[in-house]
Symmetry: C2
Subunit: 328 residues, 2 copies
Amino acid sequence: MGKEFAKGDHVVGIDIGGTKIMATVFDHQYKPVGSCRKKAKNAKKDESAEDRIIRIVQTALEEAGGPSIRGIGVGSPGPLDPETGVIIDTPNLGWKNFPLADVLSKHFKTSVVVDNDVNVGTYGEWSFGEINSCQDVVGVFPGTGIGGGIIINGKLLHGFSGAAGEIGHMTIEVDGPYCGCGKRGCLEALASRIAIAKELAALAAREDAPFIAEKCGSDIAKIRSGVISKAIEAGEPMVEGVVRKAAFYVGIAVSNLINILSPEAVVLGGGLVEAMEKLYLEEVKRAVKEHAMPFLRKDVKIVPAKLGDDAVVLGGARMIVERLTAKG
Amino acid sequence: MGKEFAKGDHVVGIDIGGTKIMATVFDHQYKPVGSCRKKAKNAKKDESAEDRIIRIVQTALEEAGGPSIRGIGVGSPGPLDPETGVIIDTPNLGWKNFPLADVLSKHFKTSVVVDNDVNVGTYGEWSFGEINSCQDVVGVFPGTGIGGGIIINGKLLHGFSGAAGEIGHMTIEVDGPYCGCGKRGCLEALASRIAIAKELAALAAREDAPFIAEKCGSDIAKIRSGVISKAIEAGEPMVEGVVRKAAFYVGIAVSNLINILSPEAVVLGGGLVEAMEKLYLEEVKRAVKEHAMPFLRKDVKIVPAKLGDDAVVLGGARMIVERLTAKG
């Protein structure tokens, strides 16, 4: 403990996502020196999620020339206990009260830190982005769900349950549409990719969005960020209207977070924002001007995420280094 | 600095409210030994707010037998800078960039800490209540406005602007009713005393709330917590329905705070809650069960405030003692 992260040292960042798992080995300057990325679903049916993760890390280490590592930082779906690194329940990976940190720590004989993937991504964007001087930061990642990471005084907020930051289930429209969580009017029910796709599928079915209809039919599952962005470029005004409205809802949620937490910066990432950054940020900023209190929104930076798919592996690397080099 | 708050020591807590100003002198066990409370409006027109406050503190000190004091803790309407004790803008008291901490510090030759009144009240309820063992606490005070105080890791959250906790202006119903802040669908617009009184005045005008009609006519300004509570006791079902709905809205906002911050305890205070505690907490808890995520709401304590009108003076006293006795 306390020893600096110096030349010759390496750490690994792992991103366990819903569709893919990625591991990257970083040197002491956070330069990637080896990486491996595979689908989250097993090709071989008999391989457990943990065995698959270990194999992916080993491949990344081999690519890096087999350095010894000082630690591993992992972003995983939750809920999980960030203190013990136990994953409480992720049906997708077949884990229930699974001691992920211990399993990786024993296998690789090194220190491991595990946190929620959105927290780790927020930490990455904060650590390596233009907002690094800000001590109070909120990360918002709209996608299939809408995740949030909260940094207060330079530290991730976990709260009593360990799972703070569930901003996707903030009610912003009482008695609004149903959400996957079972309640109504959640931000996710109004602004996630699925909420957008639902509207676009209806447009396609009514022949109001020919580009979407041609590429995806009216199947919600096929309407992804890339197609949506191309439909807007192709000049479909109703598609643009639907996306702007969803982004505006996200902006209302961001305003609520500003009114409650008073962050210095808000970073917006995820597939939807990446595919339509300019339009998306315009609407979020417009909502913030309308819905956040003037004294609290003053000088708040609203910026797009910059690390793309590397946010979680970089954030994980940074978190384990912070842990290893912490004073006292 | 660092010297304990010991026998023979005294501090003063000041509560600067919209309608009244109160100062209380406390001994080393936080027992009140002198107090003075007056209307906030000047009886003599030529007295400034600061002169009035000084006179109220002096009266409280005289009642206490004129002890020397180690410090003063003040809860004041905001926005204000809790680091410098400068009040940024409170038209009600005629202050604009007014250095309240400095003025009191010079006059009484002692240390002064100033914070937002809702923050100080929350701190008081936390310091002296059953939830003192909880490190992450949210205070919610519905009244004419709806204020919030947030404690994270045992410390008040101020955020980048210094004014975090503006929970009354959380949007929970997009395009809902107009709020005093100019935007729509804020919690305050749906659940403050004025929002309730508005509905009750309409009931009274339509002869659906005879108790309210008899006591207050249909004048919103006259419909206060006490009368509302008595109308419910008198068996007016629509009055009860209106209050329950407002409390449920507050519960939705509390759910949002639980989903975002994951506190261990939520304390509810203010005139409305005091007047109708059982009914109010029932609705808040019902909303939380519906609107907060199961993993985050688990084991969260939702409790009524216990200090009543003394919350701010006690909180102020505690804050200045913490400041004076802080290590390092």
